[in-house]
Symmetry: C2
Subunit: 341 residues, 2 copies
């Protein structure tokens, strides 16, 4: 049971075909394809649901031999944290993430104010070990990580550019079709809306005084001219993953725009759920927008801390993803039931 094809499909399909034709796949593409196929096959046989979690920002290179690029702000906190809660709820997870962004489990020990070596000490036997005050926390995390490894429920797929991301997204979606409604797409990555077509991209680092279509350095100024990335969420919903549950994210900075932008996305793409969040409050409140429904999810007793920075929390403290993911799973349950009736 798929969604009906849309009349505007042909335009979207043309833009999509053009994009993939003009922007070739990354080097590791066929190797990753094999990994994804085997992963999906295994979990399909075991009757396990699979979540594709995307995470981190995509880059848009300004040069082919890339020195400069445009990036979207995202450390990968939402994606990496959510992936853990999908795993804890029995899902297998394909984690399509920006290279070197936060990863499930290891996130607890990276991007912290401490360097990783601050957790370690040399004991009386001369052995490198974890300091006593970090032992219990790290045991808990390491056990969960080792379980995901033993059960082979976590597949890490990295990307850097928006093009790498889109190749992997499409291919993974096609692989996941065998699962029908048992797949969920949880699209937390911050994907660029704009890119520079390969044929207009400078081969070498743009020099002051260079003249080219992508980065036009006019004397001392630099003008960067970008095209819109085709609307791949449309392709995903209608073509690549017609039977899966699809959850997209909407990040805004202006509170007045958040709900309307989320609703507009839901109408435009006819998928299941938009999770709206604001840059400054995203660690403690989000809004779940589904057809005919808005639900705010908030951490109790939260807000900016007195220094004005975020009160990010991890480990044993309550994380908002521990509230979001179960709600997504309840919606997934309902969707699967409706499909089967």
């Amino acid at each position: 049971m798929g969604r009906p094809a849309l009349s505007s499909g042909s335009t979207v399909e043309t833009a999509e075909a053009d994009y993939f034709q003009n922007n070739p796949p990354p080097k590791e593409f066929s190797q990753n394809k094999q990994l994804v196929r085997a992963f999906v096959q295994r979990h399909s046989e075991q009757g396990r649901r699979v979540a594709l979690v995307t995470s981190g920002g995509t880059t848009v290179p300004l040069e082919n031999q890339t020195v400069r690029f445009i990036d979207n702000f995202s450390a990968g906190t939402r994606g990496a944290t959510s992936a853990e809660y999908f795993l804890e709820n029995g899902y297998a997870v394909i984690f399509l993430h920006r290279r070197f962004s936060l990863l499930p489990y290891s996130r607890h020990y990276s991007h912290t104010t401490n360097c990783f070596l601050d957790f370690m000490e040399i004991d009386q036997q001369g052995k490198v070990t974890v300091k006593n005050n970090y032992q219990i926390g790290m045991q808990t995390v390491l056990q969960k990580y080792q379980r995901a490894q033993t059960e082979q429920t976590l597949l890490l797929l990295p990307f850097t550019s928006v093009t790498e991301y889109l190749w992997s997204l499409r291919d993974t979606a096609l692989s996941l079709q065998v699962l029908g409604p048992n797949a969920v797409f949880y699209l937390a990555a911050a994907v660029s809306d704009f890119f520079i077509p390969r044929d207009r991209m400078s081969e070498h680092k743009i020099q002051s005084g260079d003249l080219n279509a992508a980065g036009l350095s006019q004397g001392t100024k630099l003008v960067v001219d970008l095209d819109p990335v085709p609307k791949f969420l449309k392709s995903l919903v209608d073509g690549w993953a017609p039977n899966a549950m699809i959850v997209s994210f909407k990040l805004e900075t202006d509170p007045l725009l958040l709900i309307s932008k989320a609703k507009k996305a839901l109408e435009r793409y006819s998928h299941h759920l938009v999770i709206g969040n604001l840059l400054l409050t995203r660690a403690w409140e989000v809004v779940l927008v589904s057809p005919g429904r808005e639900e705010w999810v908030r951490l109790p007793n939260h807000g900016p801390d007195p220094t004005g920075t975020f009160a990010f929390e991890s480990g044993s403290v309550l994380e908002i993803e521990s509230l979001i993911v179960p709600k997504v799973i309840r919606l997934h349950d309902v969707m699967i039931q409706q499909t089967c009736n």
Copy 2:
């Protein structure tokens, strides 16, 4: 003994003053200023030389509440690795680095194909410890790291945007003046040449259809219009650090431009050394360009590995920074001697 002031100084100074006036300092600025003052004071009293090592890429935000930004490619490998060799050669190091880029010592265990947790295991006593095959390597690294902590020879200062970087660079340079020729500036960070002035920057995330000076979204396209960053290397050499040794880097992708661009920078700024490197070969060859001299430094038996990716090496294997840093220090010795005569 300083360098003579240049006749063009006034233009540079005006652009510089304008920049700092229009782009206010980061929140942590006065706190960092105290840390730097105390650090320099201590090492000045102990007669230790100090290296300011800059590392990683600077960002140029497209919005005030930043969702999108332009970045310069750099994981921070050169800076983090070089910092270790300065420390091993008796220098104290101020490490001015892009937040979350590679750090001295912990770099050996981040941005690897392994996640940090892959190095760990739970032993028979239920204690989290480092796996046997990683013990010796990690002991060596941890001992060096702990020594730098005990001797307080390493100060970590993070930045994200080009503006944060420039505020810290200027302030640190002014603090280092008390050391006279005993300071070296090793400018390995990839600093943006272009930025969007604050008064032209969008407050909120740029929406399709928005019209503004910084990011002009024309219907479906996005045009980003950037101004040149004032030439701060000139300010550094002539004004902020007139008696220190200054080493800049030149990264190019076109082999035909490398030497000429390095020489041009040396002539333009009248400093001591430009280290030239190419994006694709930077892990195993660089060229040191000083007045009247070019010297290639190469790792023996190196080149792209058979998969076409870099053969980055770390730990016990020879790193090119172990060859570069001692050469810089020899030049620093000579410069100090000349100053004292």
